[in-house]
Amino acid sequence: MQRQTPYLTAHLLQLSLDRSKALRVELQRLRSQQYPPTGPLLLIELAIRTNEQISEELSAMLADPVLLAAIPTLEVEINLRAKTNLLAYLHLLMQYVQGAEIQYSPSTLVLPLRRLLKKHLRVRDFDFIVRASRWYNYSILPLIEGIQEVFSKADYSSLLAGFPSQFFIIDCPVSEKRNVPIHCMFAHEIGTLYIKDMT
């Protein structure tokens, strides 16, 4: 039997939904790993929540006969692009979780580091991920501005409710992950946060 036309809208929506489902499998795999508290799981949960919402909205669009009756309109294209761009961003965000697993990161330092940050930063509502990376250096990356911008552009800002107002990625070299005293280098990164916090 010949497929009925127009078919392209349904096809594009289904392809996007497939991408979302593939991401769901990866996010579940990441969630099943063990991490030091609490940054990595917060970021994974945010990605899962967002992916679920995208998936639900794509399914709703697929069930809308009016939408499927025509080739994709500009409005559908913009809507779809916002969702798929966000899916790609969630995929990219998960790079910050890799290397943060308990067995790969200097996890014993995470709780003392949290206490140190709480003691010294004025902002109370923060979280962070410590991960071992291939970059042979120590660095700190504030992530929240990027997340807020992308979620806002895609009109998903409401999903950030409850997510910390500051979120940092702290990197250390993977070959030194066990050498906890060397991670005192983090103090310099906290110093840079301190400066930003003061200014």
Partner: protein, 275 residues
């Protein structure tokens, strides 16, 4: 902090003139021209000054972050810096974002050991530890041993001279904004020697026995555990190596780091039990 920095105007003028006289790449058959032939002098002047200002701003931030790190966790930051970065240190090759390591190391040694504006750790450090820092200071203070190759070099010499008067100010400011929350030499002195003995005897450094008669103990702070680990490593004390019956230094260092890590972990567990 930035308004306190004044650059050597004559050196800066020389730099601007050098840039104005630099030949601009010419296409084949064209006459070679200099930057000064193309751009008005004020534009070159502005570009050079702007770049220098960016470098100085970045360097102030880096040195301030170093000073804050020393305030937050004490000498442990300096030890980790030279241990990690020492073998790779670009002593005289600064970048646009980072001052030369020679300047950073000398600054940190000064801040740790000096009285008054500094943190005055010289009073509480054991001789071997103090001597280690002083050796780094002597090494960092000597004039350049390598030939700087970075493109930034002409800027860095002007920036470095401009920094001299502000280094003390950076120390004072860092101490001032961490007042009351700083890891102090007094806390270092109170805890580190006791935790050091734990390490020498192969015991995780997670608690401090304040009163042996009553068995009253105190959970060690992470800062103290980390400092004890470094002080032991630097001391050359071989009791832990003998206990392990290992002569390879790398193995001993790794075992020591594991012991420090255990100390942090146990202290955290004790803290949770306490709660």
């Amino acid at each position: 902090m930035l308004p306190l920095i004044s650059v050597d105007e004559s050196a800066l003028e020389r730099l601007i003139t050098t840039y104005a006289m630099q030949p601009v790449e010419a296409k084949e058959g064209e006459t070679e021209v200099t930057a000064g032939d193309i751009f008005q002098k004020w534009r070159i002047d502005h570009a050079v000054r702007y770049r220098l200002q960016m470098i100085i701003t970045q360097w102030v931030e880096e040195l301030t972050a170093d000073a804050l790190a020393l305030c937050l966790i004490g000498p442990a930051y300096f030890f980790s810096f030279v241990y990690f970065a020492g073998p790779f240190a670009s002593m005289d090759n600064p970048s646009y974002s980072h001052p030369p390591d020679r300047m950073r190391i000398e600054f940190m040694c000064d801040m740790l050991l000096s009285q008054g504006d500094g943190l005055a750790y010289n009073k509480v450090l054991k001789e071997t530890t103090r001597d280690y820092i002083e050796q780094w200071k002597a090494y960092a203070s000597q004039s350049s041993t390598t030939t700087p190759v970075a493109e930034i070099t002409p800027y860095s010499s002007i920036a470095a001279q401009a920094f001299e008067p502000v280094l003390r100010k950076i120390m004072i400011e860092a101490k001032s904004i961490t007042r009351g929350r700083r890891y102090t030499p007094r806390r270092f002195q109170r805890d580190v020697s006791s935790l050091y003995e734990n390490l020498a005897n192969g015991i995780p450094p997670n608690e401090i026995m304040d009163d042996w008669a009553t068995g009253q103990s105190r959970i060690a702070e992470a800062e103290a555990i980390l400092n004890a680990g470094w002080v032991y490593l630097i001391s050359g004390d071989d009791r832990y190596a003998k206990l392990l019956d290992v002569s390879d230094q790398w193995t001993v260092t790794n075992k020591l780091f594991d012991l420090v890590s255990k100390g942090l972990e146990y202290a955290e567990i004790q803290r949770r039990w306490g709660r």
